[in-house]
Symmetry: C2
Subunit: 337 residues, 2 copies
């Protein structure tokens, strides 16, 4: 049956063998507690001899805190989210926290997933769901544990957000295109409920100023295919852009391929094009994409700090909203010529 | 402080309010147990009124089984692994199992990570680490819980493997190139300790038959950049291939870009090229890559079945080795002309 029955050795046995107190054994197996190196070594030796495995379950039972954070992801097919998850797992672990990972397709499955996680007494939730709705915010807030969201407009007593400055980046994208003499700008928006995309588009329109009247807006869905399809349809309608801002790099790669394959247009000889996220694929030679780097390391580090603050608040709700500047990374797709 | 203290409602309170037994409340909150729909509804209503949250911790304490599976990943920057993780999380959840996610950089950090996971009484480990060593196998086997590895040569009493038929695919890659009249074949190997890459290379060499004498072997490291660099160096040495097999798609994309940018060679006009994994980026128009599809859905489904069998073995070690055929996906990079 269970693991426990085959290993009935407890911390008391280890303490006895090592000639120390039981609390010293607990401290030896904690990542955060302090203990004299010699004592630790003695305990680890005794534990190895007895084949002892520390058990966190009784402590979870007593404290109601598990040291586990529920991480909710929606789409790992975007390398930006896969990279963010990798950073997050490492950063949380450095703080002695483990990741209980949940994948949800939409708000409908989120409720059920969260209910399951709560049974494990998770201490907090971190989510990078691109979509947000009032229903999602309500479900998260009802957990009454700290919730940290990336690039989200979700609000709630228990909800903090860490976002890149999407609107400001949109303004910068417009400035880059205007400075290079673009006459026919195109905006390729992400999924409808993607708050970050909405803010990027608002900034872009604002940055275009008087030229906003010329703007052609396309509707994408955050994927490569949606970028490829939206641009193909635009070309069929006879629109010939000389500048584009795409709400993320996945769609930007699709846009570049459609411009080339459907109309023989090259970035940047014919079209100046910018994306967002700085995914590794944007730097691949076939794309050489100018983009905005959200600084995923900084986003994750900040999220972990907000989380630590919230956990220290001792059960009181904490809500912080932190904005990080995105950095323009210029590559061939806006180099011209 | 903790979550528990703010929610002292127990299943006994819910049972009383709903007028049912405590075990009915437990069944109502279990994904697998059966219960009459009417009873379940009554219990959920009572639970909502009392703001009751089920607690799995006492059951973990008693049974020594947590319903959590430790999933160890090494490199989510390869979309193949990110996709596999997404599938795995969903498949495990359908079986009522949660994922405790661990990221390790190398075998050195694995031990420490596993020790942490054991404290949570995980029921099993699933790993897609590309690298494998005797030290890793020993550390995993010592856990004495079921371990399932993807594309691995790790062996142990408790270790099962689910792999695609890497060697057979290598033979097929050679056949494709021979049939199309390739005279100068090149093999681009993955990281040194990547067992799957070694098997693919062996199959390729074997499939080339008499032509194996002409084979040029390059050493990559599984990444786009390593493929780009290895092919660039080869071109500098004056080698002009007309056929290439790359151990994975990431390196294949790098190879295609280097062939084009460094020597003006196009796939497939000048070079027939195959990769492995069928990552989404291989299908992007700039690459249009012929590749082998490991059938990640099938790999994950099989791994979950092996896992379920092993969990049912009731604490006895189970070791299965299952091989799945990879499917050739032909695209432009081997179309010629």
């Amino acid at each position: 049956m269970g693991v426990r029955e085959r290993r009935p050795v407890t911390s008391v046995d280890v303490a006895k063998r090592a000639g120390v107190s039981q609390s010293a054994v607990s401290r030896a197996f904690s990542r955060t507690a302090s203990i004299a190196p010699g004592t630790r070594e003695k305990i680890l030796k005794a534990a190895a001899e007895l084949d002892y495995r520390p058990n966190r379950i009784p402590a979870i039972m007593l404290s109601g805190r598990s040291g586990m954070v529920g991480v909710v992801v929606g789409g790992l097919s975007n390398p930006f989210y896969a990279g963010a998850l990798e950073h997050l797992v490492c950063s949380l672990r450095e703080r002695g926290l483990q990741v209980l990972l949940v994948h949800v397709d939409d708000a409908l499955t989120l409720d059920d997933a969260l209910e399951q996680l709560l049974g494990y007494r998770i201490d907090a939730v971190v989510t990078a769901l691109a979509i947000g709705s009032k229903a999602v915010a309500k479900a998260l807030d009802a957990l009454r544990i700290p919730v940290i969201c990336f690039n989200s407009r979700l609000t709630g007593q228990w909800i903090s957000t860490v976002s890149s400055n999407n609107r400001a980046a949109g303004v910068v994208a417009a400035r880059v295109l205007r400075e290079r003499g673009v006459m026919q700008p195109v905006w390729l928006a992400g999924a409808l409920r993607n708050a970050a995309s909405v803010a990027r588009g608002e900034g872009f329109r604002r940055g275009l100023g008087a030229m906003a009247g010329e703007l052609v807006s396309l509707q994408g869905a955050d994927t490569y295919e949606s970028g490829y399809d939206a641009v193909s349809a635009m070309l069929l309608r006879g629109v010939r852009p000389d500048g584009m801002f795409c709400s993320n790099d996945m769609m930007a790669c699709g846009a570049i391929d459609a411009l080339c394959e459907r109309a023989g247009l090259s970035c940047s000889r014919d079209v100046m094009l910018l994306g967002y996220d700085n995914i590794p694929q944007g730097a691949w030679r076939a794309y050489d994409l100018t983009t905005f780097d959200q600084g995923v390391g900084q986003l994750v580090k900040t999220a972990c700090e907000v989380l630590a603050n919230a956990l220290e608040a001792g059960g009181e709700p904490v809500s912080q909203n932190i904005v990080i500047e995105a950095r323009l990374v210029e590559r061939g797709s806006t180099a011209g010529g």
